[in-house]
Amino acid sequence: MAGDHLSNDDFFAQLTNLFEHNRNKSHGTVYLTQKRLTYAEVEIPSPTKIVDDPLWDLHPEKPLPVLIRASNNKSSKRSGTDRPGTDRDNVEKIKLSTVVQPDKLDAFYARYAEACKSGMSGLKKRDRKKGKKDKKKKKAIPGETKG
């Protein structure tokens, strides 16, 4: 894995680009992954300690950072065929990653939700017949703006 994580701000800028790219192409995929960051951040207890407490990772002493990754789908042009569905262009794989420190987590996810909501514009819009429901009470952070 490439060790150069972006800062959170850069990550959001790039993520917006990624979604924008997807929108312009009107097809394609964006992958987003999150997991606990354990590489080189926490020391694994000694074997004897693990024997004593096999579930040591359920209660770490201090909060751990979370790793967020984003990528698009790579696609390569197929030559020699002109069947429908094979008329695609070469697309380079774009990979982004960032590390979110525990104390920044809430703020990060507020921005993340905004970025995803605006980025995933291809999904179905709200059905008008159902009327207004309890949609946007979860992540209503007006202060957070993204570029």
Partner: protein
């Protein structure tokens, strides 16, 4: 690998998995926009023509706006996966309105990943109750087993992890 019917169910099961295996579990969200395949386009056209004929022959109810057959389909898939136990929990949606709520769930699961204390979840309480009211027994059994297994097989997983470092 189960696709859950509701996002609350997905969230609850993911939470259980994450509690059992906080270091190895990852959550992947996939937003994909796909051009429909030729057969899908054909199917949509057929459906639209059939639907139009039916609504015309019966009452003169307003025909629902038919979608463009070539319109790309967008889906949003959430997947919680633990490579050590092989547990995989999925939820798929096509509704844009759900994205905010789902990212909210991701945030709450992220707090568990970071080993932060749980926050009060009074906001989500009504939604949770609605989701809980109809869990199937079969699902509970199916997902209950792997979690129990994970706890029992914890030693093996740890050993593997040690070797990796």
């Amino acid at each position: 690998m189960p696709y859950f019917k509701t996002n609350t169910e997905w969230y609850e099961q993911s939470l259980l998995l994450l509690k059992a295996r906080p270091t190895t579990t990852r959550i992947t969200s996939k937003y994909s926009v796909l051009k429909p395949t030729p057969s899908k386009v054909l199917k949509r056209q057929k459906y639209a023509s059939k639907h139009a004929a039916k609504s015309a022959s019966s009452t003169g109810s307003p025909a629902p706006q038919s979608q463009n057959p070539d319109e790309p389909t967008a889906t949003f898939i959430l997947k919680t996966y633990d490579p050590v136990s092989g547990t995989c929990l999925q939820y798929e949606t096509t509704k844009g309105a759900e994205v905010g709520r789902l990212i909210g769930s991701l945030g709450r699961l992220g707090r568990h990943m970071a080993a932060l204390p749980e926050v009060a979840e009074d906001l989500s309480a009504p939604a949770d109750i609605a989701g809980i009211s109809t869990p199937t027994v079969e699902k509970d059994v199916k997902t209950g087993a792997p979690v129990a297994e994970q706890k029992a097989g914890g030693g093996g997983g740890k050993k593997k992890k040690k070797g990796k470092k």
